[in-house]
């Protein structure tokens, strides 16, 4: 059923593939977090963009990431831009999650009670100081765990990159499987890797959440 020597044999290959997975996750998340912030801020700063941006966000969130990955991968060359599979895939993942992240930021700002702005005006605080000292410190605590959850979700979607032959963890496991006709060990190891990473991340997010909440409630 389970071959330990085979497991040991494939472990180094899978480990180096896991590095690609982690790289894709981190780069994808940086794109998602920054682009999401830009979308949210543009929405606040330029009111007429609110509607088109919300339609765009809805569009991205309503269609499968896999299709978006394929689309970007195949459509870039049409415009003369040749991207390798990793770059195209990571951009697609980043774009997809930027849509989710922008909603997180938006909810964060929306949740600040009007009274906070009004109190700041009553104290005659300049607008920038209001933003920096009053609003931002209250926005961050709920945002961090929400972004953390999307980081984990994004991480779990990186196996989709195997569909455009990026040599991340899942693709590597599949290749090992088709070469050796043994799928049990590689596939199970991939599953375990994701499970452990997700559980650890969830625990970290919980701790972070508690720390942040303690600060604001003081």
């Amino acid at each position: 059923m389970w071959d330990w020597s085979f497991t040991l044999e494939i472990l180094p290959t899978l480990a180096s593939a896991a590095i690609i997975t982690v790289e894709a996750t981190l780069i994808g998340f940086v794109i998602a977090a920054l682009l999401g912030l830009v979308l949210a801020l543009v929405r606040i700063a330029i009111p007429w963009t609110a509607w088109p941006i919300s339609v765009l966000v809805e569009l991205i969130r309503s269609t499968p990431l896999l299709i978006q990955i394929f689309f970007l991968y195949f459509v870039f060359p049409k415009f003369g831009i040749v991207l390798d599979a990793f770059t195209a895939g990571v951009i697609a993942i980043g774009l997809h999650y930027a849509a989710y992240c922008s909603e997180v930021y938006r909810a964060g700002f929306d949740n600040i009670p009007r009274g906070q702005w009004e109190a700041s005006i009553a104290l005659n605080l300049p607008q920038w100081a209001t933003f920096r000292d009053i609003i931002i410190p209250q926005v961050i605590p709920p945002i961090v765990p929400a972004l953390g959850n999307y980081l984990v979700a994004l991480f779990k979607e990186t196996p989709l990159l195997s569909a455009i032959a990026v040599l991340e963890l899942m693709q590597t496991a599949k290749i090992i499987g088709s070469d050796t006709f043994r799928y049990t060990e590689p596939m199970t190891l991939v599953g375990l890797f994701f499970l452990v990473m997700s559980l650890v991340s969830a625990a970290i997010i919980r701790v972070l959440e508690r720390l942040l909440n303690r600060r604001t409630s003081r």
């Binding site: 499968p64 299709i67 569909a163 994701f194 499970l195 997700s198």
Partner: protein, 242 residues
């Protein structure tokens, strides 16, 4: 987004599909894609039914089951939430046969997606049950109801309303996940798209149509769930504004 905007988006999406269908460069692909969409819908529907069943069962087991059942449910939820749908799909598709369990790709698809979303669903169900006011339990005890009667008649009907919006999101996640089944040989909408793309290299028309079809299906789910929510909470909210 308001329900009007959503309906408006659906109308626009369908109109654009119709408009594109008048052009040969697009209409060429439409029959094949719609055929794939049919399989997508089939898998999404069956997967959703399984997800709801698993979600409710796992939630009840975790809340009220005896210890062993509670552990089983917790392990199920953690495993299926902790790994991703594609990992689960591939594991069921490639590994189970090595243990002599043979299922066709369609069954694997429904099973993997249903179990995956069911795990998230169990958290939704659990949260909704726990969110019912404690006074409702107390009133049920004061009326001497049995545990099963309280759950069935008092708690679940109230929790049901709170569950509708998050389940709507889960159904959309499930619909989007159906694209993964193209990777285990099923000829769904995503599979057709790849296949046509490979043979014709007409990426833009093909994927524009595919994205629009997925968008339309998602919107139908969102709009349907909004209506369900309105109808279910009709009694609760009637006169509340007054």
């Amino acid at each position: 987004m308001g329900i009007r905007t959503l309906v408006g988006m659906l109308v626009v999406a369908l109109a654009v599909i119709g408009l594109l269908a008048t052009q040969t460069s697009y209409s060429l692909f439409l029959p094949g894609l719609l055929e794939g969409a049919l399989l997508t819908i089939e898998i999404a529907l069956l997967g959703s039914v399984l997800a709801v069943i698993m979600g409710v069962l796992a939630a009840l087991a975790r809340l009220y089951g005896p210890a062993p059942l509670r552990w089983v449910a917790t392990v199920y939820v953690e495993i299926f939430r902790g790994t991703s749908a594609l990992v689960q799909l591939f594991w069921l598709f490639f590994v189970l046969p090595q243990f002599g369990i043979l299922m066709d790709a369609f069954t694997v698809a429904v099973l993997a997606l249903g179990l995956n979303v069911g795990a998230y669903g169990s958290e939704v169900v659990r949260g909704a049950i726990l969110a019912v006011a404690p006074g409702q339990w107390e009133a049920s005890i004061a009326l001497n109801m049995s545990r099963a009667q309280m759950l069935r008649r008092i708690i679940l009907p109230q929790a049901f309303i709170a569950m509708i919006p998050p389940w709507g999101n889960l159904f959309i996640e499930l619909l989007k996940s159906t694209a993964l089944v193209s990777l285990i040989t099923l000829t769904d909408l995503a599979f057709k798209a790849q296949q046509m793309n490979q043979s014709t290299l007409k990426t833009v028309p093909i994927f524009t149509l595919v994205l629009l079809i997925y968008l339309a299906m998602s919107l139908v789910i969102t709009i349907g769930m909004r209506f369900l929510e309105q109808r279910a909470s009709a009694g609760l909210s009637r006169g509340r504004a007054a």
